[in-house]
């Protein structure tokens, strides 16, 4: 199978609550999928499930060829998740944080240096403690960690949040670059105009299911790289 993501009737529980309630979704490799939905629709749970962090209790779920129901830990080193939190240690400097996470992910030192430079972290911010960074600077550092790890599947939860205009441009350029190189991106966002410009396809979640597979994509939100309208199993 050449799909990066293949979910069929997938159910994930948060406690007893079905955060994903029989969700069907296929994402081809190299695609950029925008996941829309109101608060509590299941966007974050979907991303965490794709990362192998939330157990799938029913249905079929394969990510990058790994069966999430059988062994969800296998897929983890191959995905990069940008969540709501920066996943950085406040009491370490930017460089120490990046060095730790890059080594943990077996990234090459050259990739680490390039990632820092890309997000403007190789100058005066390099030795600043993360606790002293602004929210946007933390976001940049978190993105730099992902870049250094070079994942095959990028899972971005509100990636533009907190970034300034320059940071947003760098992020958009990065997404286009990694998908052109063959990686897959799934991003959840409320900033639809910005995110739609990146996405090749969009789905809308509500109540843990896909309620709009993108066939009714509003013209105002249609991005320049929009391709196939629907790809739902």
């Amino acid at each position: 199978m050449d799909d990066a993501v293949h979910l069929r009737s997938t159910v994930c529980l948060l406690g007893r609550f079905p955060a994903l309630a029989g969700l069907d979704l296929v994402v081809a490799r190299g695609e950029t999928l925008l996941v829309r939905g109101a608060n509590g629709a299941g966007k974050t749970t979907l991303l965490r499930a794709l990362a192998g962090l939330v157990p799938v209790v029913e249905g079929r779920a394969e990510v990058l060829g790994c069966d999430l129901r059988r062994d969800r830990r296998r897929v983890r080193p191959r995905v990069g998740l940008l969540g709501h939190g920066p996943a950085l240690y406040d009491e370490l400097s930017v460089a120490d944080n990046l060095r730790f996470w890059a080594r943990a992910g077996r990234a090459r030192p050259a990739d680490l240096g390039a990632a820092m430079a890309r997000f403007g972290l190789d100058g005066r911010l390099r030795d600043v403690l993360v606790a002293r960074l602004s929210a946007g600077q933390r976001r940049r550092a978190a993105l730099a960690v992902l870049v250094a790890r070079t994942p095959e599947l990028w899972l971005l939860d509100e990636p533009h949040a907190g970034l300034d205009a320059a940071g947003r441009d760098v992020l958009d350029e990065l997404v286009r670059e990694v998908t052109a190189a063959g990686a897959t991106v799934v991003l959840a966002s409320h900033e639809l105009e910005r995110a739609a410009g990146l996405a090749t396809r969009s789905v809308t979640l509500a109540g843990g299911r896909i309620v709009d597979d993108g066939s009714r994509w509003p013209d105002a939100l249609a991005g320049p790289r929009r391709q196939e309208p629907v790809h739902v199993a």
Binding site: R73, R76, Y89, L92
Partner: protein
């Protein structure tokens, strides 16, 4: 696994060096405990000298609680627990690294407390090879058990109060064995028991908890 352990231990020790919680809070707390024991028991140094080994290990135990809680707090930042699970690091390596970092901090603290015993209680540190062996074995056991129970408690909303309830009864054998072995080395014990038996008990305790931690830490991380 060992590479991951070294990586995690280095990270934790670097965080402690930067934050200075161990030097500015835990170490003064440990010395304060020694001083308070001296106030509570008697200014008579004879009593303090006889009780020195037990007081030393009670102080170490209290500091171990702080060190373990601190090691768990470090991972409580937004997204760091998820990032550790996604990193590809071996959970057994993470356990060994975190336990190793706690052990290093405790060993430094024990040296400081040992000096405190000499200065405040007038203890003569004779038999130091046995004392060193006791400290190594007991510290390894405390760090391993503490890291394991710390992970167990970290999923709870009442983790700060749950950890002492879980850990203190579990490490009672360490307190007893380390105290008896130290008394034998210092010559302050009432019983004429060779320290070897107590050292063996400490060794078994450490091996059991290191083994249990390397096996159980992964599933515990998944539960958080």
């Amino acid at each position: 696994m060992w590479r991951d352990a070294v990586l995690v231990a280095g990270k934790d020790l670097r965080i402690e060096a930067r934050s200075r919680v161990a030097t500015n809070q835990v170490a003064p707390f440990a010395l304060l405990v020694l001083v308070l024991f001296a106030f509570a028991l008697d200014p008579d140094r004879g009593v303090l000298t006889r009780a020195a080994a037990g007081l030393f290990w009670v102080a170490v135990l209290l500091c171990a609680l702080l060190a373990v809680q601190r090691a768990q707090t470090v991972e409580a930042g937004e997204g760091t627990a998820d990032a550790l699970r996604l990193s590809g690091l071996d959970p057994a390596g993470i356990f060994l690294g975190k336990a190793g970092a706690v052990a290093v901090q405790l060993l430094v603290l024990e040296v400081l407390l040992g000096l405190g015993l000499v200065v405040l209680y007038g203890v003569d540190l004779a038999g130091y090879p046995v004392l060193a062996a006791t400290a190594l074995a007991a510290t390894l056991g405390l760090a391993a058990a503490g890291t394991l129970y710390g992970a167990l408690a970290s999923g709870s909303r009442v983790r700060e109060t749950l950890l002492p309830l879980l850990l203190l009864p579990a490490v009672a054998p360490v307190l007893i064995a380390a105290t008896r072995a130290s008394e034998a080395a210092l010559g302050t014990g009432g019983l004429d028991v060779a320290p070897g038996d107590w050292l063996a008990l400490l060794g078994v305790f450490s091996v059991v908890y290191v083994a249990a931690g390397t096996v159980a830490f992964g599933p515990l991380m998944e539960e958080q």
